[in-house]
Structure formats: C-alpha cells, structure tokens
Symmetry: C2
C-alpha cells in the first residue's frame, strides 16, 4: 500500500464520486494498458457502489475495458493536473508511449493488472456489467465497484476533508480547453436531515 | 427572463454539468409537479447535450418524468443550500406541500411547465429518450437537452467564471449527511491542448 492509502468501504465508495471530480480511467488486457481522463463518470448505485462512465469508441482504452471486463476510476488532484492533461491530449493510437511521456507515476494493486496513478485522491476498480445496447448506442459503461482506496489525508471514514489537507490534494473538475476548477470549501447544513454516519 | 439569466448554446450545455455539481430535478404532469435534489447526474453527449440522471422509483418526481417525458436539471448554489436540503429531506408523498415549505422560489419558462428554482447557477430541460431497461434496472434516465440557461454572473460564452462572482453563486457538491463542498478556484493549464473556444 502507498503512503496514506487505505481501503474504502465498498458501500460508501459512491461518496468518492459524489463531489463530481474528473476521473482517470485505466484498463489493461493481455499485457497492454492505457490511461485516459474522463469527465463523464458518475455514481449509479450504493451497497455496493456502481458507477457509469462514458468512453468513446475512438479511445485506445475502450477495447481494453471490453476485453478485460474491468476498468478503474481514479480521482486526480491538483498535484497531477499536468499529467492528467497530457494523458488526455493525445491517443495511445498516435503515441504508443503516451503514458510514459505523460510523467504520471504508476503502480498496481495485488489482484488487479490495470495501472493506477500516484497522486490521486482515490482509486476504484469496477467490474463491467455487460450492457451492449448502452455501450454501442451511448458509449456508456456500467461497473460494479470491487475495490476502492483513498488517500486518507483527504477521504476517510466515508467523508472528504479536503480542508484539512494540502491544497494540491484537491480534486479536479474539468470545464473545457484546459480549464479546471478545484473543489472548494465545506458547507455543512445541520438540523434538516437525520444524523448519518 | 430572470435578471442575469441567458440562453446557453445546446452544444455547450454539457459544460454546465462537467464540474460535477449536485442538481435539482423537477418534472410536472397534468398540473402536478415536484422538485428533488439528485447528486447522480452527468453529461452523456455533446452536440446536442445529453445527460443521465438517477431517480429512484420511490420518488414522487419519477412518475411525473415518466408520464410527461421531460425533466429539468438545475444547479443549485450556496445561496439556496438550505432550500436544496429541505427539498431532499422529505418526500412529497409524505408532505404534499413540501415544495412550498422548502422556501424555494419558483418560476417557469415559456413552453415548459416544470417548476424551476430561483438562485440556481443554471437550468436545463431534457426530453427523455425512452430506455425502459435502464429505467427499470438501474433507475437511470437519459435525456436530450432541449433548452438551457445560465446565470451569466457565473457562466457565459461556454465557460464558468465563479471567481468573478459573489461566493454564494458557487455550485454545491454533495457528499452525504448534509455535508457539501462548494466549487473552488480555477486552474488553467495552457500549452498542452490546442486552443478551444
């Protein structure tokens, strides 16, 4: 396990996606792997967490997902915004060493062969629930979360606490054209909902 | 049109959803309407914008969406965080005047009958693309955007500019248990991607 990395309860992993950060998607098949940014990723269910992600058929990552049946969603932070941009600026079809040249530092977790990127706030691995119509018609993939980890400096016990960590650990929220926002300040509203852990 | 409200190009409306803000969903059918928060909303396509939203079958809003074939996605701001919480704290099945009691101020736009909420950063109206399997199996709805408006103090010309507006116009990003983050500061990375408008 990396420094500060700890497992996340699969029934609370959806909260990693709730704040709406841009993701990095990775997949691997038969010794070939790729990593690409995807802004269109979203929680779909809890207990256990499911999620959707849109991956166009033009991407090198897509057949790796389809053939392996797995993908990761990771939440890059401000610390690796340039690596994130470089992973999205060019396709591995056009630059076979795109990932190496991006500057992203990679690792894997036991039992899973897709590359994960250091400097993310969280890492989730999903098993694809095959839905050919969604995949073909909308480039939409549905996955069930089978493993999740967070950087405990920003997420632990089912909650984010960005405000207690260095600013460069904040998640990235992409607009377009190299323009992101980082996640901002907490706003806690008490007395309306019943207590929840 | 409300003060500061202007139309958004339907081919750029996906950028309203890109930053990952929590939404308010509204729908109306036969004179009955409802509004509820939904964290699990996401862009799906561009030109024109499509989006997904997860609305569980227990919600009063759901049959209004199914019967009318339309729903809205709106982006509440910090200014209306309490109204947003109140709209999610109770079902209209249990409290028929829930919307009135929430404190949310409503309006409609010509040609559309669902209530929209003042104080949002953006408002989008979607026509449902019927996908019974997704709706029944995953509570997942797909819509094509047919109208979109933004508060020009925070979004204009296809880009967000929260940093130039009052802090209470920032979007809300829900975690759980009454705990939100607002969107933070811009981060612009130049020289990696080609210029985009």
């Amino acid at each position: 396990m990396r420094p500060f990395m700890a497992e996340v309860d699969l029934n609370k992993a959806y909260r990693l996606l709730n704040v709406g950060g841009t993701t990095l998607v990775s997949a691997a098949y038969n010794g070939v792997s790729d990593i690409m940014p995807a802004t269109w990723a979203c929680a779909l269910d809890l207990a256990p967490t499911k999620a959707t992600v849109v991956v166009d058929s033009s991407h090198f990552t897509r057949p790796l997902m389809e053939k392996s049946g797995y993908f990761s969603l990771q939440l890059p932070t401000a610390a690796i915004v340039k690596e994130t941009m470089r992973l999205g600026a060019v396709s591995k079809f056009d630059m076979p060493d795109k990932v190496e040249k991006s500057g992203a530092k990679l690792f894997t977790m036991p039992g899973f062969d897709m590359p994960l990127v250091e400097g993310c706030a969280a890492w989730m691995i999903f098993k694809i629930l095959s839905e050919p119509h969604n995949q073909n018609q909308y480039d939409l993939f549905i996955g069930e979360c089978v493993a999740a980890w967070s950087d405990t400096r920003v997420f632990s016990n089912g909650h984010w606490h960005f405000e207690k960590a260095p600013a460069d650990l904040r998640t990235l929220h992409y607009v377009a054209g190299g323009h992101f926002y980082t996640i901002g300040e907490p706003l806690v509203i008490e007395g309306i909902l019943p207590e929840e852990d």
